[in-house]
């Protein structure tokens, strides 16, 4: 399981519509199929893809399955965006001469202890010339 798998699952319009239907309620395959121009077998197939990507999950209620949003796939995408910006800022800090990122969510007054920046590092500032 990876964020790529989640993105691939979301790359299909019908699957996005299915997720949209499930945003506020639990639904059976039949209930989902009623609101989409797609057959029940096709909905079931899409649900399997979404379930493999941890975007939906289901519970057994009597003789049928009720599907609902699984936040694990969403958490993975959120994590992907978080890591995207971590990578970008790390690259920036490396270029600017910093040894590493500051601790996240610390106010500026606390970043001193979260960073290993030493006085000698300021020399790198002078190394930079266009």
């Amino acid at each position: 399981m990876s964020y790529e798998q989640v993105l691939d699952a979301l790359g299909d319009g019908t699957r996005r519509r299915i997720l949209h239907r499930l945003r506020s309620t639990e639904l059976s395959v039949g209930q989902i199929a009623e609101t989409l121009p797609v057959s029940r077998p096709a909905v079931s197939k899409h649900l399997r893809v979404l379930e493999r990507s941890r975007l939906v999950t289901h519970v057994h209620v009597g003789t049928r399955n009720l599907y609902r949003i699984d936040t694990r796939g969403l958490d993975m995408l959120r994590q992907y965006v978080e890591e995207f910006w971590t990578d970008v800022l790390d690259a920036f800090a490396g270029y600017a001469g910093s040894p590493g990122p500051a601790g996240q969510f610390h106010p500026p007054s606390h970043t001193e202890s979260a960073s290993n920046t030493g006085p000698d590092r300021t020399n790198h500032d002078d190394d930079y010339h266009p």
């Binding site: 949209h20 969403l74 910006w85």
Partner: protein, 152 residues
Amino acid sequence: MTTTPSATTSGAIPSIVKEVVVPCAPERAFDLFTARIHSWWPMATHSVGGASSAGLTLDNEAIVEQLDDGTECTWGTVTVWQPPTRVAFTWHPGSDPDDNTEVSVDFAPIPEGTHVRLRHSGWERLRGRTGMLENYRSGWDVVLGGFVGAAA
């Protein structure tokens, strides 16, 4: 710092906030982040064109990637340009400009140099637009809408 804390009220989607300290003055940090962005941005892994991408610029108008076929791909439009304290731009790399979120970067002087704070926000705006237009160009609308549903 001119940014406000992430909204935590019901229905709001928290911003992504990243911070870093660089050992130079804000003037230099701002210049490196903007005028020198092509020198440090991890293009191979964090761009539309990937390893074959030809360049990236960020000025007082926009952040634009240059592709190897000579075309340009606008990642966002600059909305705040206040050197050396703040730059902000809309964010929609590889997708429709109407599906944008927002990125702001603040540069604050500290004894060790400059505290850089990046905030990626505006997710709830995507959700609102989705609700109105039923537009499914991006998976983010569903994804972030789901976040709100899960957090409620």
